[in-house]
Amino acid sequence: MNGLAAYVLRRLLLVPVILLVVSIVTFALGRFAPSDYVDIAVGTGRRNPEAIERIKEERGLKDPVYEQYVRYMGKFVRGDFGQSVRYRGQDIEDVILPKLWITLQINLVVLILTFAIGLPIGILAAVNRGSWLDPLSIGAFLVFASVPVIVMVPLAQLIFVIWLGWLPTGGWESRDVLGINLGILHTEAILPVMVLTLPGVAGLARYMRAQVVDVLAQDYIRTARAKGLRENIVVLRHVVRNALLPIATLLGFELAALVSGSIIVETLLGIPGIGQFAFESVTSRDYDSIMAVVLLGSAVFMIAMLVVDISYGFIDPRIRLTDQRS
């Protein structure tokens, strides 16, 4: 396990380094952009130069940029993400948490559904290889995978909201279930979940199909059949289990797609999640909010990827051997 331990350690060490670079770049982008963020705070109406000076003084915007950066990061690592310009007087962490929860609900359901639909379809297609079921099931979902989310949302709205009238127009309702706010239980959640799930299903199904086809060709499957096991048992116990191993990799792809997907879907459908918050922060030059979103987003994303990679190494020890040869 020495190789794996070293690898994990190196990847772990890389996380803060990358976060540091990302934070510097994001901070610099914000501070060197032409329109100042005090302009946004003051508004575009009548300008009071004194007020602007005062705000700049208060917020420490007159100090050198690196001092501002160090001060911001010092507060950030202690859990103080600064103050939102748009949500006046509110701390960013208070604004972000409920939004994070909404996005998390949607994305968790999406992930579960993606695997629950994608895996069986992949297995089905592989087992029925050569029949019409194979290209049909994979091909149908490939269409969904190929249509960008930005295009999928208006089309889905057109079909399900306007033509069929099955789904509500958008937005987000909250509902308390045993003291927990579960907006996901409302019909408003169906459209975003559907639009975010469909693309992932295709990728997963195709990958699973390839895996199952690979495993089906293995000697131990022939052995299993030769000793008289029923085909169902062979598929479920021998094929699927082995084919599932490398699937963990796809989680990484899924996560990347969900980050961009959430921003677009939440903005389009008016869901008050973290994706919409990111977009709003960017358009209103709310730099402390941008910093918080980018740093939190990158940290969560990197740690998730790291967990995926490590689990992959644990699951399939063969990876180690092949790599030492190359």
Binding site: G3, L4, Y7, L14, V15, V17, I18, V22, T26, L29, G30, F32, A33, P34, S35, L142, V143, S146, V147, P148, V149, I150, V151, V153, P154, L155, Q157, L158, V161, I162, T169, G170, V213, A248, T249, A256, V259, S260, I263, I264, L268, A278, F279, V282, T283, V293, V294, S298, F301, M302, M305, V308, D309, I310, G313, I319, R320, D323, Q324, S326
Partner: protein, 322 residues
């Protein structure tokens, strides 16, 4: 060297020595799906390239007497809320897509990606290490979020830079032509876009560099650039073509997504993203479904065609054909 296959390694890693390209083309043409995909892509691209010649109107030519007009002989797909011809807008938007994809692919995948991959795989050592750690870092961050932020914060800066260029050189109309947003998008896409291509090229070069003809070339005194570009690069043609095909669709979708979020192509220029943004609200969709349907269908068809073509190519070039 990474000891664990990272989650971001691409399925193309398994490509073996590819067959000569003409055979690939012949096999490709035997697949009806691939042929249809190629034709659709060519159709959209040619329309985009010829937009200045064949578009019936300018994309921003307003006609306030005929707003929201239905299809007619004058406006085949009708007009939008300012009486602008929808068909012309689609054609000009296709041109934007062609330009952005072309520039990004050339700068990001071809120039940066291929050369960094070649250097990384051939030179090895700390250079390889540096390039690959940079690639790791770029793949470890949420790309779309950073693209959004780079474009949002720098778009005004890009415009002012181009205004200065206009003032200094005395050439007018650069900013008005939309060059700043094209430039910025290309740069932003290239920063993240080289990684996939560089990894693929590197993995191929790692094995190719041990080939005898490379040793022979070196023994005869070929310089490193000569070995890289005359001896190694031609071997990688099909790999590069496949990767570009797959990337082109993704870049088109990215441009539309960023433009929709108001940080890509700016209002006043043609883009599918702008067409979608303007009519994306549920009230607009209800009132004028066709105005949102047209650009959506074109983008969907384009990206789908690229994916189908990429799929067919991967399938043909993959050693484990099933």
């Amino acid at each position: 060297m990474t000891t664990v296959t990272t989650s971001t390694s691409e399925p193309l890693d398994s490509l073996a020595a590819p067959p000569p390209s003409f055979r690939v083309v012949r096999r490709l043409l035997r697949r009806p799906v691939a042929v249809v995909a190629i034709l659709l892509i060519l159709f959209i691209y040619i329309i985009g390239l010829l937009a200045p010649l064949i578009a019936p109107y300018e994309f921003d030519k307003t006609d306030l007497a005929h707003t929201f007009a239905g299809p007619s002989s004058e406006h085949l797909l009708g007009t939008d809320r300012l009486g602008r011809d929808v068909l012309s807008r689609i054609m000009w938007s296709a041109q934007t897509t062609v330009i952005i994809s072309g520039l990004s692919i050339i700068a990001g995948s071809l120039i940066l990606g291929v050369s960094l991959g070649l250097i990384s795989g051939y030179v090895r050592g700390w250079v390889d290490n540096l390039i690959m750690r940079a690639a790791d870092a770029l793949q470890a961050v949420p790309t779309f979020l950073l693209l959004l932020i780079i474009n949002a914060t720098m778009k005004d800066r890009a415009r002012s830079v181009f205004t200065d260029v206009e003032d200094i050189t005395g050439i007018g109309g650069i900013v008005k032509s939309g060059a700043p947003s094209f430039f910025l998008l290309t740069i932003a896409f290239s920063i993240f876009g080289w990684v996939g291509m560089a990894r693929l090229v590197r993995s191929q070069v790692l094995s190719l560099r041990e080939a005898e003809y490379v040793t022979a070339a070196r023994a005869m005194g070929s310089s490193t650039p000569r070995v890289l570009f005359r001896h190694l690069l031609p071997q990688l043609t099909s790999l590069v073509v496949v990767t570009i095909t797959i990337t082109l669709g993704a870049v088109a979708a990215l441009e539309v997504g960023l433009t929709f979020l108001n940080v890509g192509i700016q209002e006043g220029h043609a883009s599918f993203g702008i067409m979608i943004t303007q009519y994306a609200g549920i009230t607009s969709i209800r009132a004028h479904p066709m105005l949102i349907l047209y650009p959506c269908v074109v983008v969907a068809v384009l990206v789908l065609s690229f994916n189908l073509l990429g799929d067919a190519l991967t399938d043909i070039l993959s050693p484990r054909r099933r």
